[in-house]
Subunit: 140 residues, 4 copies
Amino acid sequence: MELTFDLGRQILQQQAFSRLLGAELTRLERDCTELQLALRPELLQQNGFVHGGVLCYLADNALTYAGGLALGTRVVTAEFKINYVRPALGSLVVARAAVVHAGKRQAVCRCDVFVDADGGERLVATALGTIAVAGTKSAA
Amino acid sequence: MELTFDLGRQILQQQAFSRLLGAELTRLERDCTELQLALRPELLQQNGFVHGGVLCYLADNALTYAGGLALGTRVVTAEFKINYVRPALGSLVVARAAVVHAGKRQAVCRCDVFVDADGGERLVATALGTIAVAGTKSAA
Amino acid sequence: MELTFDLGRQILQQQAFSRLLGAELTRLERDCTELQLALRPELLQQNGFVHGGVLCYLADNALTYAGGLALGTRVVTAEFKINYVRPALGSLVVARAAVVHAGKRQAVCRCDVFVDADGGERLVATALGTIAVAGTKSAA
Amino acid sequence: MELTFDLGRQILQQQAFSRLLGAELTRLERDCTELQLALRPELLQQNGFVHGGVLCYLADNALTYAGGLALGTRVVTAEFKINYVRPALGSLVVARAAVVHAGKRQAVCRCDVFVDADGGERLVATALGTIAVAGTKSAA
């Protein structure tokens, strides 16, 4: 089943955890899949920065959408790596992902995560991972 | 400042995002730092499994505690990689981390993430990452 | 086809690059796959340490053997991450890998890399990666 | 000390392992650091493809040059992750890396690895890693 923007938004709404955090799918195109998350106090850590868990959640999900667009809708993140490059401070987090290479069962995708800052955007994390068609990864 | 079990629990309570998710620090020893998270519907994805974002949050935090125990309290996760090995289904997620190697400014740590299942535990993810003394990683 | 110790050694001999470096398969058991590499000047970098490329070659290959033991002989490394934890100085490099979780098509494996030092062993790198049955990863 | 193209080439010549493999630094610019490696039978694995160890060596080194350009000459690769996306077949491997974010002591860099194929280039691997100023990573 092809992943469309509307279907992508429906899937996100069906993820209770994504609703809890408040993520929104804002773009779903071949060269850019974008998720946004409005920041609020519940998403921060002890020093007032966005919790790393929020950034890795958003990166993971954006990677999954990028892979899903290439592979079809039933996909899972098999693995990913994330580098946090700066403390994240702002009112909005934006994750943008794209496919680096897609095969039949797996796609390798990358993702950059930004916060809005001073009217512009500031890179806070970058990620690289593998999205697999559901049922084909190492799950027994 | 040395990271003790009580201080570790205080820090977790100061993380609004950790309170939102409900994580608890249940062990802080040289060979094992353990975080637990009771599962509830808000933490799931569309197929009823624990959302990957919950697992990577917990792995990230457990890695940070393992690194903090070796390096001191003011640490951040610089980067990590996570492999999801099975869909996660259960009532409790447990992340256990330990230091692989610690220097003065950085510690390399690994973490396994389990769900309780059929009275036992089931591995659902494994992670490897770098914890850095705050202020010494690539933050400008 | 099951991967035996003899077959494993044959495969290594068929890898021209492994012959060029001089790697040897020294153990192939469920809980530990071991490769060894005698050091010589050609394997060093400008400061006299073992070149990182040698360490990541050995980690990659040890991961592949660990995955191959669980999955069968025709496997490839799909991805891996390596953390170098210390400059590597010695006369022998040893990489030990084991499966963390194996499914039907993929296995997640970890590997520690040591150099001999002062009569003992010294950890110089640690790795985590995914081994896939050949033909099922993202190769078009 | 600033890393120039000439100095970069000298350093590569001082790496015995890089001479053994035959790598050449072909570009050293802010937005692209490029290493090339002419393929020969010694660099292959048992099925005639370029050995993964060659690709991860080249990615690692290209990442180091990208980080060195941003941070200065005395740098080391602290960690990296590589995804192999296709079997590599060709007569030349090219790795191109760039900095994603540089701080004072660390730089996060990414790298794509290609083989020449049918007159064009074919992506065979992609990597993401951390380059650190020598002496500041976790080395004891």
